[in-house]
């Protein structure tokens, strides 16, 4: 029994026979040409997670529609021409095209391919972030964009961090609870990216990245002590940063008063709330929003688009959008649950967390639950980088889903161009350590030795 895999604690209905059978199969690798054929087929096979794809599709459609509606006035102000009202809409359409392309590519290509690309991508992102600090344009008192505002490396960083964390944790999973191998590199890696983003300054994007990384760390098997230590450290640093940045502190203070009395809230939140109020149950009708005009509501097409949805489509509209996100998140975690290997599972979980946190943050800000901060609503807010990154992430998820959906045993054999297979033994031991029974024993032993001495 002692050699049996010890997942019992985690999953009651673990299939021993299957696990043993799998290891037996692994012992006999298929012939070379068969593998190659398999590989080719997998790379281009048709297998799409319909729920996920449909949900994201609807979200994108709603987003496009709402960007068009919400950006009419800002487009007009931007171009100054009567026929310039589609300025942002066309740009968003273009971004969506790119996004779709990216999505299809990521969905089609086996995600294991990106395992090696993770590190270079990470380096590129860090370089981009440095470039932003050096050459970036200053918009709204922060340097966040490159190339005339068309690229926001912060959004790409979210994608890259998820990919990189997944690759890194998948290969270090058995050592993840070790301080030197687990906590430190993790903290340093994520910390560097987050720090660069904080310097822009963009606290909310950094927070979103940190939260996503922390969630992935938790899902990958960190123990509570590590989580508390890292979470505590993050909280402390975050608090210091909030104190450091005047704009963050003043927003927090303004929020504290707004929680008690909405009429004390900032103009941004107040006009968002006004928009929701105007909307009521069914909304004032598509395109009829008043708040989007004359800068009543700042950023109606980006950060505040949810409020415009609330105004034009009412509670029904907002509930619909939230339902779509619920399906997306539910489905995302399901993909992660069914993923064929740790890398895929962590990718799916990471992408889901990232999208979920962005959506949560955005909606919470709009409904005056959190202090105002600029986080885009995934798929819906105007913004090329955010959209492309999000669609890339979904593409990865679709790829994971596709590979797990087809139950051919060979699918689970390591792809030819990936790292060597993870040693199952050590994996088992690592997980053995994770099991609750073991932990208990250690504690009670300590107690007994104390009693003896």
């Amino acid at each position: 029994m002692s050699d049996l895999p010890q997942y019992i604690e985690d999953d009651a209905d673990f299939n021993y026979a299957d696990a043993l059978a799998r290891s037996r199969r692994r012992a006999a690798p298929p012939p070379m040409d068969v593998r190659r054929a398999e590989e080719r087929r997998r790379m281009f096979a048709y297998g799409l997670d319909l729920y996920l794809a449909l949900t994201v599709g609807i979200l994108c459609a709603v987003g496009l529609l709402m960007v068009y509606s919400a950006s009419i006035d800002v487009s007009y102000q931007m171009t100054g021409k009567a026929d310039g009202t589609t300025y942002f809409f066309t740009r968003q359409l273009r971004s969506m095209g790119i996004g779709l392309l990216v999505l299809i590519v990521f969905a089609r290509v086996d995600y294991h391919l990106w395992r090696q690309a993770a590190l270079p991508l990470m380096i590129v992102v860090i370089v981009l972030l440095l470039a932003v600090l050096r050459f970036g344009e200053t918009r709204f008192e922060a340097q966040r964009t490159l190339v005339r505002g068309s690229i926001q490396p912060g959004e790409l960083a979210k994608f890259t961090v998820v990919l990189y964390m997944a690759a890194w944790m998948a290969s270090h999973r058995n050592r993840i609870r070790n301080i030197t191998y687990g906590v430190l590199p993790f903290s340093v890696l994520v910390g560097v990216v987050a720090f660069l983003i904080v310097l822009q300054p963009d606290l909310s994007t950094a927070a979103s990245i940190l939260a996503t990384a922390l969630s992935m760390f938790f899902i990958a098997g960190a123990d509570w002590f590590q989580l508390i230590a890292i979470g505590g450290a993050m909280g402390f640093v975050g608090w210091q940063l909030v104190i450091q940045f005047d704009y963050a502190r003043s927003r927090l203070e303004a929020h504290a008063s707004a929680v008690e009395d909405l009429s004390q809230a900032s103009d941004h939140v107040q006009s968002a709330v006004t928009a929701f109020l105007n909307g009521g149950l069914t909304g004032v009708g598509l395109g009829e929003s008043k708040q989007k005009y004359g800068n009543n509501l700042p950023f109606p097409h980006t950060d505040s688009i949810f409020a415009i949805i609330g105004e034009e489509l009412g509670l029904l509209g907002t509930a619909f959008v939230i339902t779509l996100f619920v399906i997306l998140i539910y489905r995302g975690f399901t993909v992660s649950r069914r993923a064929p290997d740790a890398f895929g599972g962590l990718i799916a979980a990471g992408v889901t967390c990232w999208l979920a946190y962005d959506a949560l943050l955005n909606i919470a800000v709009m409904t005056a639950l959190l202090p105002p901060t600029g986080v885009p609503l995934p798929f819906i807010s105007y913004g090329g980088s955010s959209l492309v990154a999000a669609m890339g992430g979904v593409g990865l998820m679709l790829s994971v889903s596709r590979l797990s959906g087809e139950s051919s045993p060979s699918r689970r054999s390591p792809p030819p161009d990936s790292l060597p297979p993870e040693p199952e033994r050590s994996q088992f031991r690592a997980n053995h350590d994770l099991s609750r029974r073991n932990r208990r024993r250690r504690v009670s032993r300590a107690g007994r030795s104390r009693g003896r001495s």
Binding site: N15, D18, A19, R337, A339, C353, A364, T367
Partner: protein, 786 residues
């Protein structure tokens, strides 16, 4: 699905993450529903409020007059200039022209550039004023200049055609014609502070514009004098322009005017008398310094003092001077901050009305109260003599035979007064006599002097009956209660037991005894008028704008010390509390008392019984029904209800073989006549006679009676100046005198801080004032006859 649980993290960790995220989304849905529905109604109400604007029209504040209708406070128009941004011309050049014209008239730079060019960088230009003030409501006038001269105002009104958008406004400001002379009585107005903003807003005040009384009558009668503001709701457009009135308009009601009992002429006389005394003291000090070539380091003239004149027949205050004064005209339009902070930090505290808001040891004037108690409690036959050797040795309680350990109490006359009876004791102010009758002397036969003398408990009863320790309720804010100590108080406060020496000190108004000058004057007035302690009052009536009297302030008895036949007995709130305990008026009415009962609190119909039979053995009960005096506007926040006091003094009564109920003392008219005679003797041949004070002899054309007081003190000021040397503490000077002796119509108190000797320093003030008083009265009579 055989691969579902392949990896460890695909178990509970994923489920947990998923549930947490989804749960957060559910929370958001709830918040959304909340925003879009439940709060909707509330916001609709708020929006309605936005559409309607309440326009208040200010009510003129009531005036303050003295008893002869000389105005002490009234209203003046103030001329302001405002700019209505919406009505300015559209063309920037024309606007600049308007600014330039106005700038020439008001001497405010038109634009920033002009101000900088003229070197007036610290001033805010007209253009900036309008920019700052315009906000989102362009029809809201922006105030650019306040209180401009009338001629300038008239020019602006004339040139209205040339100054589009400029509006002249007339506002009302306070004027205090008598200024410093009556500052402590009248008080002043100030802006509404943030603490009071909410409460006053509910009462209809506009915290941005309205001012409220901060001291004196202005504060005490704030509610009555403020009047009721007119109210009218207007529909407004988004720019703030009033469109249509909505609903009924409520007209403003002018505030009530207050007519005081103060006589400005007498007030002037009192102030001059006090100032003259300060001058004399400074001069003497200088002369002494030049004559002897040495400056007396220990003595300097501290110009702080009080003069109060009261009509003993009804408690009306005719003059009340607290020195140093402050200039309330500098607060009338707006608070002069430099001046305010300067006087706020002045150690002599000019902002405090020392007549009611400061506590001092009363010194020998207090002996009148002790004497009343001594006679009434049969401590000694008033005609029996006690010997005064110039000092009295109080043996140490634990070493009664050791002379060296005894404590020495000295008389102010080091040679002693020899044989002294009560009347001589008052006239000569013999301290040793009052030590003995107050705290007893074992060397004197108990047949002559009650063992233990009057004792501190009986002294407490009598002092309390004379109003010491109670707020008497003159219509001024900030009155203090003073303190008569007793055993339990000392134990609670100092953790020490009461000693005979404490009684000695208390018997002649030193030690722990503190009073306000007004209290001391009131108690002397009660002696002078034959036993009625009137509530000191400063207000004659309240009248409306036409002069019709709305409320007449009748004389109120605060305590009947000698019960008059046919009149109901009145006790003080403090005594009522000691008698009735939890059932007393204050305990029922004070909100922070444990027995607070809103329903039972009915000051108008309050009356209780008290057993005044002094001998519990004979089973005869003699109940007297009494009422209490509740001053006008009294708010029951004086913390009179004190369980500890009630309990401890009740026990004190039991220990002294008395009925359990606290006994309020009552005097007979004969006793007070005796005291009055003692005061008369003081003027004729005692401490304030011509012999003692040759530079300020008693009035010759009228018989007067008085009592001097020299009260040693050691307060923070003296301590800081290192003057508290043992055995030679600095002293305050007191003097009280009333006239005429047989039918008193005025009683005057003078108090000079650090004046050293009552007879020498305070008596001249009182006599100078009394002389003026009779002179003024005679002149008025003559004028009336003509």
């Amino acid at each position: 699905m055989n691969n579902r649980h392949m990896l460890p993290f695909q178990g509970w960790r994923l489920v947990l993450s998923r549930s947490m995220v989804l749960f957060s989304l559910v929370v958001l849905v709830f918040q959304l529903g909340n925003l879009q529905f439940r709060r909707g109604e509330q916001f609709v109400e708020d929006a309605e409020e936005n559409r309607l604007q309440l326009v208040l029209s200010a009510a003129p504040r009531g005036a303050i007059y003295d008893r002869n209708r000389v105005p002490l406070a009234n209203n003046d128009p103030a001329y302001n200039v405002a700019i209505i941004p919406a009505l300015l011309p559209d063309d920037p050049d024309e606007v600049l022209e308007v600014y330039n014209r106005l700038s020439a008239l008001l001497d405010i730079p038109a634009t920033r550039a002009i101000a900088d060019a003229a070197g007036r960088t610290n001033e805010i230009s007209l253009e900036e004023l309008v920019q700052i003030g315009r906000g989102i409501a362009p029809y809201q006038p922006v105030l650019v200049a306040q209180d401009i001269p009338f001629t300038t105002f008239a020019i602006i009104q004339e040139q209205r055609q040339l100054l589009p958008g400029v509006e002249g406004q007339v506002a009302s400001v306070r004027r205090y014609p008598t200024g410093e002379l009556t500052a402590h009585i009248v008080g002043y107005l100030g802006p509404i502070g943030p603490e009071e903003e909410l409460r006053l807003r509910e009462l209809g005040y506009n915290p941005a514009f309205d001012r409220i009384g901060y001291a004196g009558i202005e504060r005490y009668f704030e509610e009555q004098m403020a009047g009721t503001r007119g109210e009218q709701y207007w529909e407004v457009d988004v720019a703030g322009q009033l469109l249509n009135p909505v609903g009924e308009a409520q007209q403003f009601e002018p505030g009530l005017s207050v007519q005081l009992t103060i006589d400005v002429e007498l007030q002037q006389a009192a102030q001059e008398a006090l100032e003259a005394q300060f001058e004399r003291m400074k001069q003497e000090n200088n002369e002494q310094a030049t004559a002897e070539g040495v400056v007396d380091e220990d003595y300097e003239v501290i110009e702080q003092g009080v003069v109060i004149a009261m009509d003993p027949r009804n408690g009306e205050i005719l003059a009340m001077v607290s020195w140093p004064p402050y200039d309330n005209t500098r607060f009338a339009r707006s608070i002069d901050a430099d001046y305010y902070f300067r006087i706020l930090e002045d150690p002599l505290r000019p902002l405090v009305n020392h007549a009611i808001g400061a506590l001092y040891p009363p010194g020998s004037v207090w002996k009148l109260i002790t004497a009343t108690g001594v006679v009434e409690e049969d401590v000694i036959d008033p005609y029996d003599n006690l010997y005064c050797a110039g000092q009295l040795k109080l043996p140490n309680l634990y070493a009664p035979r050791d002379e060296r350990q005894s404590q020495t109490f000295v008389c102010w006359e080091p040679n002693g007064h020899r044989e002294v009876s009560l009347i001589e004791g008052i006239a000569q102010s013999c301290d040793v006599y009052f030590y003995q009758v107050g705290g007893g002397n074992p060397d004197v036969s108990p047949l002559t002097l009650r063992a233990g003398g009057l004792g501190v408990f009986d002294l407490y009863r009598w002092a309390t009956a004379f109003g010491i320790g109670s707020e008497l309720g003159g219509e001024l804010p900030g009155e203090l209660a003073g303190r008569m100590p007793e055993r339990q108080w000392k134990r609670r406060t100092y953790g020490e037991s009461w000693s005979t020496g404490d009684t000695y000190n208390a018997a002649f108004g030193q030690g722990y005894v503190t009073v306000t000058p007004l209290q001391l004057l009131s108690s002397v007035a009660a002696v002078a008028n034959g036993g009625t302690l009137y509530q000191p009052t400063i207000v004659q009536n309240l009248q409306d704008a036409n002069g019709t009297i709305i409320l007449d302030f009748e004389p109120r008895v605060a305590r009947s010390i000698v019960p008059q036949p046919g009149e109901e007995v009145v006790l003080l709130l403090q005594e009522d509390m000691l008698i009735q305990g939890p059932n007393s008026l204050v305990c029922l009415c004070e909100e922070n008392s444990p027995y607070y009962a809103e329903d039972a609190c009915d000051p108008g119909n309050y009356s209780r019984l008290v057993d005044i039979d002094p001998n519990p053995a004979d089973d005869v009960t003699d109940f007297v029904r009494y009422t209490v005096n509740v001053p006008y506007n009294y708010t029951f926040n004086g913390n009179v209800c004190d369980e500890l006091e009630y309990e401890s003094l009740g026990r004190e009564s039991v220990n002294n073989n008395r009925p359990e109920m606290y006994q309020p003392p009552f005097a007979t008219a004969e006793t007070l006549e005796l005291i009055q005679y003692g005061m008369r003797q003081a003027v004729v041949l005692g401490t304030s006679s011509e012999q003692s004070v040759p530079w300020a002899p008693p009035l010759t054309f009228v018989e007067t009676a008085g009592k001097t007081g020299t009260a040693e003190y050691c307060d923070d000021l003296a301590f800081a100046a290192d003057k508290c040397k043992p055995g030679q503490w600095p002293a305050h000077a007191w003097y009280v005198e009333y006239a005429p002796y047989d039918n008193p119509q005025i009683v005057v108190l003078a108090f000079v801080y650090n004046g050293e000797e009552g007879s020498a320093v305070a008596a001249p003030v009182v006599r100078a004032f009394l002389e003026d008083y009779f002179l003024i009265m005679a002149e008025r009579t003559r004028a009336g006859q003509e």
